[in-house]
Amino acid sequence: MTNVELGLPALPAPPYPEEVRARLAADAAELIGRYPQARSALLPLLHLVQAEEGFVSPTGIRFCAEQLDLTTAEVTAVATFYTMYRRRPAGKYHVGVCTNTLCAVLGGDQIFAELQQHLGIGNNATTEDGQISIEHIECNAACDYAPVVMVNWEFFDDQTPESARQLVDDLRAGREVRPTRGARLCGFRETARILAGFPDERPGANDESGAGGAPSLAGLRLARGEALPGTPGAKVVSPRHEEPLHEEPLHDEPHQGEPHQGEPLQEEPRHEERGPEAKADGQEGTEA
């Protein structure tokens, strides 16, 4: 009888090398300890093995099953349900373009089409150099910043086809890019480790990029009596608006981050110094 090749991985999958297994088992034990019942740690464990290999491999599935006393079939059933678990390696930078209705209409469709063309790859594919993978994503809860692009699940808001092309070019060239909301990018695997439940330990990462952009603060500003673009007759009460305009990055290259390179926490000491004053006039606090 001839063998029919189904393209399924041979079982059982090979285990991790012993030193990897031991290291991950210690991480797994910590995650499992956070839940009243061990199986609750399955999603975190799948993020953990994705952090190890850049995707959820049969070996990773075997590892999760062993840690939780489940079958690999049970783990596979869960892993394949959730779209963030990849069955093929992601690029170092995983780029998601929102093409749900609102972002799509506001330009996400064009951004995604142009990015695919620019990179020469299709949906859910990775560039040959392994740097960039792209996929179209569903609504990422940032509609007031549409069109939205995510890189390793950090926000790159208010994108245009030009800014998105520049973004991936910078990523491939190794130039630093800054999310509009989020911290300096780390690789896809490091991001997966944060998702597993191990906090980002890079100093200052949590404080990067402020409390949100103009949309997050739009209503608050109006309530403070400030004007928004296109709203008439309001007074300006915040020192925010007295900041020199030359600090603004140009509209068409918003993600280069050059003006701020090498001084990511420049604002920090000033915030600390201003803390006590802000106490008195929280209403006119500095921008984040």
Binding site: H47, R178, A218, G233, R240
Partner: protein, 453 residues
């Protein structure tokens, strides 16, 4: 009257109040804004009184369904010998919805304080935040804020010397809209595929690990501290009689200034547009959603509908998540609905046949209509399939999938027919983009300045 004056009168920043202060995600800043004072007030009261207070305040769920929060807490059986759990639904994924993510990014402590109060009230010593996975910046801030709260004695053993214990576990999801449905969320949190459970039993009786569980939306829980600190009368003084309080309205789409607008319940879209700069210059409103894509769409004729639970319901839709997605006359309604339907088909969990099969076939029909390849009878077929999903599927995802189809055919049937008659889409997608008329005035630079300054 200028719109600026009305803005100051109409808007009521409570949750968003600290957001323009320095580093509002830190405990120090939150304390400057009366942070954790609501908790102190709560700990000075018996737990049942806290439940009664929240119930009397009239606070209703901000995640879509509008169920009274205090009543959910009251359903938890006491002295039953079982552990109780609080699970916060931070799986914000409903298309158009973007309130919990900015809230948690700017000030995660408001949620943590609310969680301690709620846990104290329902006698729970282990609470969970189920955060959707695709928002690492928020996860980072939640991790840090929880650590900060432990360090300050606001979590852990013997909180503020009260004898109350609480642990919070921050749990990241992995990309599944259905996990916003509370019972699917619980299955997911138990390490399973996120598929909805049959109810009853409701989570209050058999939730996480089959124990009594409260599942609340982020904004609902984050609204609790202010009620404790400032009282139920203050809260009831805002909003309308049946929909008291303040809430975050998220304006997005073809508007001059998209963003978060915190206002008393009952404000109208006309008021919000008037004070925020209106529909983008040179265009007019075509259709909008009051609370995400699952809520039947509205048109210009609904501009004066009070955006509270009753007002929107009476006008034939739902307040939902108050995600006000605004589309102007350049937008093809068939395209918009096709995209939403593709979303529901992609996110259908597959458990029940009407939703799994129905959403698939809706997508096939809509794609061919949009491409100009529709045939006579397609519109009737769309409505027929939608009718076979709505009310007949296992959970609300199916109902949500039917909403945009039924409502768009109600208001824009002629546009569908035009696609059939002309055998093409009569719209130019390029005209709908943000850059179609040049950059949004001032918007980009303001964003960049704040983010990077």
């Amino acid at each position: 009257m200028t719109s600026a004056e009305s803005a100051e009168k109409l808007l009521t920043p409570v949750l968003s109040d600290p957001w323009d202060d320095s580093r509002p995600w830190t405990l120090a800043t939150y304390r400057r804004h009366h942070g954790y004072e609501g908790l102190k007030a709560a700990l000075a009261m018996p737990p049942d009184d806290v439940i009664a207070l929240v119930k009397d305040s009239g606070l209703r769920g901000r995640g879509g369904a509008g169920f009274p929060t205090g009543m959910k807490w009251q359903f938890i059986p006491q002295n039953d010998g079982k552990p109780h759990y609080l699970v916060v639904n931070a799986d914000e994924s409903e298309p158009g919805t973007c309130k919990d993510i900015p809230l948690l990014f700017a000030n995660p402590h408001s949620l943590i304080e609310g969680m301690v109060i709620a846990s104290y009230a329902i006698r729970c010593d282990h609470a969970f935040v189920y955060l959707r996975g695709e928002v690492v910046p928020v996860l980072r801030r939640l991790h840090a804020a929880v650590a900060e709260a432990y360090e300050a004695g606001l979590l852990g053993r013997n909180i503020l010397g009260s004898g109350v214990d609480l642990d919070i576990t921050v749990h990241a999801g992995a990309g599944a809209y259905i996990c916003g449905e509370e019972t699917a969320l619980l299955d997911s949190l138990e390490g399973r595929r996120g598929q909805p459970r049959l109810r009853p039993p409701f989570p209050a009786i058999a939730g996480l690990y089959a124990c009594p569980t409260v599942v609340n939306n982020v904004e609902s829980i984050a609204s609790v501290p202010a009620i404790l600190a400032r009282g139920k009368e203050w809260f009831k003084g805002l909003g309308t009689e049946k929909s008291p309080g303040f809430t975050l309205y998220s304006l997005s789409g073809h508007v001059t200034n998209p963003g978060q607008y915190e206002a008393p319940l009952g404000i109208t879209l006309r008021q919000l547009l008037d004070l925020s700069g209106g529909v983008r210059a040179g265009h007019r409103l075509k259709f909008w959603t009051p609370g995400g894509s699952s809520t039947p769409m509205f048109t210009e004729e609904h501009l004066d509908v009070p955006l509270d639970y009753e007002g929107v319901g009476a006008a034939g839709s739902m307040l939902g998540t108050k995600a006000l997605q605004v589309f102007d006359e350049t937008t093809c309604v068939v395209r918009a609905v096709t995209r939403w339907t593709e979303f529901y088909a992609h996110e259908s969990c597959g458990k029940c046949t009407p939703c799994r099969e129905g959403t698939y076939w809706l997508v096939q029909l809509l794609r061919r209509i949009e491409a100009g390849e529709g045939v006579d009878g397609d519109l009737e077929k769309l409505l027929d399939i939608a009718d076979n999903i709505n009310g007949k599927s296992f959970c609300a995802l199916g109902d949500g999938a039917a909403s945009p189809i039924v409502s768009s055919l109600k208001y824009f049937r002629a546009e569908y027919e035009q696609h059939l008659a002309e055998r093409r889409c009569p719209f130019d997608p390029a005209a709908s983009t943000v850059w179609a008329d040049g950059p949004r005035p001032g918007h980009q630079s303001a964003t960049e300045r704040e983010v990077h300054a």
